[in-house]
Symmetry: C2
Subunit: 159 residues, 2 copies
Amino acid sequence: MLGVDPGLVGTGWALLEPGAAAPLVVDTGVIETSAGLPLAARIQTIYDAIHVVLDKLAPDLMVLEDLYTEYRFPRTALLMAHARGVVCLAARQRGVEIVTLAPAEVKRAVAANGAASKEQIQHCVQRLFRLAELPRPSHVADALALAFTGYLRAGGRWS
Amino acid sequence: MLGVDPGLVGTGWALLEPGAAAPLVVDTGVIETSAGLPLAARIQTIYDAIHVVLDKLAPDLMVLEDLYTEYRFPRTALLMAHARGVVCLAARQRGVEIVTLAPAEVKRAVAANGAASKEQIQHCVQRLFRLAELPRPSHVADALALAFTGYLRAGGRWS
């Protein structure tokens, strides 16, 4: 189960696999793009890198956040949506099913609080997976939280 | 010069080429996707169809609208941005340069009014290119208006 948190500046991803008691973190990463490049070049970087991740890890499911109805930063949200578009395209091209989850559901699942801050999510995810370090940037913590919530949604198991 | 007006429901495109006195309409079209399909499938349809257009028409330039800072329908804008992302990706993959224009500049160029309505743009574009019928849907008129404004920007000529 691959959680992906798309963003133009940074796109976090995290692969979980079933473990004896809880899901295990197989790999995580962040795709970063330089603000000095044209938008189309940055989008291509994200698209190419997600294809590399999909080819390497071969997940059967991708978990994304639902689109909100209100964003605090509309322009950032529009740029995020460009990235989300090519991430969805790559999943589709590789036959990876996409599940979307409400942000509040994800926050409740990892922090028992549907309005948890980014920092709280990072700390909760670190504890949840007993990570030696705080997952950074927050996109990686969000991707882990998405994959974990997708795992719970699937009844705590998946084939 | 290829004008493209991306949208999830309909993506209009229009190719102009230099003429003796004014640019000529070579071809126009609209890529439509069904609301019954998953988002990723609709985005893939747009991506594949834009690649077909680029391969067939081999434009040297693609003209898009700038992103606004305020949209009347934020959710529609976010879905448009998914489509715009894969349109930019396709252009980049084919080495087609992208130019973006402010909506008000485009409206002024074809309707002498930076706040013209969609219907006004359709009628102005019909007159401008002496089209037998009103360009429909409005995405096609917008794509023609974008390509025309790109033409003016290039000093009324391009190589």
